[in-house]
């Protein structure tokens, strides 16, 4: 489900391989708002502000781990 949300955002990105989504500016502030909203709506997981860090959003794996931890 998380992967689907990410793919809706950037269909051209291979999320399995990409580990520098923030560093390479693939994901920007517009996307963060969208992601936080979609993760809350579709996965029922609220991401608190202090978990919004470059590390947590740099890859699909790190974001999935965050969602898992908070869920």
């Amino acid at each position: 489900m998380l992967l689907e949300i990410l793919q809706e955002l950037h269909p051209e990105i291979d999320y399995a391989a990409h580990t520098t989504l923030i560093d390479d500016r693939v994901i920007d502030s517009y996307d963060i708002i969208f992601l936080v909203g979609e993760i809350a709506n579709k996965l029922d997981v609220e991401i608190p502000a202090d978990e919004l860090t470059p590390e947590n959003f740099n890859s699909y794996a790190s974001l999935a781990a965050l969602v898992e931890r908070l869920g």
């Binding site: 051209e12 963060i32 502000a49």
Partner: protein, 520 residues
Amino acid sequence: MINILEYLEATVTRFPDKPAFIGERGALTFKQLYDKARAAGSFLSERGIYKKPVAVFMEKGADMVAAFFGAVYGGCYYVPLDAEMPVYRIKQILEAVNLSLVIYDDFSQKLLSERGFPCEAVHSAHIAAHPVNDAVHSAHIAGHPVNDAALQTIRQNAIDTDPLYVVFTSGSTGIPKGVTACHRSVIDYIENLSEVLEVGADTVFGNQSPLYLDACLKELIPTLKFGACTYFIPKSLFMFPVKLIEYINEHKINTICWVASALGLVAGLGALNKITPHTLRTVAFGSEVFAVKHLNQWREAVPEARFIHLYGPTETTGMSLYYKVDREFGEKESVPIGRPFTNTGVLLLDENGNAPPDGQTGEICIRGTCLCLGYYNDPERTSAAFVQNPRSPFADPIYKTGDLGYRGADGNYYFVARKDHQIKHMGYRIELTEIEWVAARLPGVQMACAVFDGEASRIVLYYMAEEGTQKTAVQAGLKDELPRYMQPHAVIALDSLPQTPGGKIDRVKLLAMYKEERKS
């Protein structure tokens, strides 16, 4: 006072060694800024570039500001370019301004070559219809010997209606408009804005807006005038609001003038519950509607700070009206845009050029010294937007904003809606028709219509295309062509686009379709 450089020249004698502008890549004191700008002015003068547009394409930061004022020392005016701009926009600007010079740096050089604009090619004729004569690295200019006599002569011949800059905004036909503003308008704006924001030598600005819009005047020029200080906040911090507030606190930033969506993001993502930006004392917001819920969260978090709503189009130089938030607002209320700055006039006109009855809606029109010099090299669109006040028996130019508003019983003006298809999204002014223009140029696309779902803050593009046109190709084309902030959040192919009885594309129906789809 005739020229904005007079602010810098008064301040450099008072605070030569105080940092003026601080960015990720370094800082400049007032003396360093002064020296760099004068070196650049001398360089321009030696090359015979005078009263010409000078493009500045550099990484956002102190050196870019020095290049702006360098152009002004040379008796020229600056045209900011930015890496956020799509390739077609940069081409359009190069074509529109008949450029004399591009000042670039390592950052933009790389970007120019990556995008097929090696800097050597910038001065060859094939990019633009008008040849760009020269491109020069900013580091080369900075070391140029200062020619005092030349700079003095340039200044003696300056008048306050000389242009200061040309900034480009989205145009409804796909061709951007080069809003050209003069020194007098900027001085008028800064004098009155500074009073409202209560700027002083101890002001520390935290800048959010890009340097290629007029929005950055709020920080740049008062910094010169008062010997204040501006931090260029790294853009990436706006993704991580707790870190953003840590940055504000660390640098003791006390004044921010941000687009409402940036403030909304901080509140909306819950950062204010985690950390307080306790150094803030002035929070100005504008460029779009600020959700009252977020405003209330901010006011609760920093109750000591002043909150000021700013309103104004680029065409009237920065901001034109302001409202100091002085009471609690309910979530269903709208925050007024307030009253005009000193020396700015506002009037409402109905479709027949009459004043609507009290409390009724009309088009917001603005008059005064703030009116810009019009659109660069574009008399047609200039004369459509800048018109004679129909109620004046003397020459009295007004700018028709295209915004509808009314004057409340409390004496404040209120914004209601746009007359056309212009939207404000993440603080950017966007013509939906420009997105359609770009989409319709993509291979296979026959017709396109962009709508904006304000509640969800999403741009949606509907299109119809020839058989066999891949949606992924359309999406990829849009990504290439449009700047980030204009990119549709959803791209939807239809066999045909619904039409109104008059034969126009039915935007209302498309928007309703999208909202329906989102619910299900």
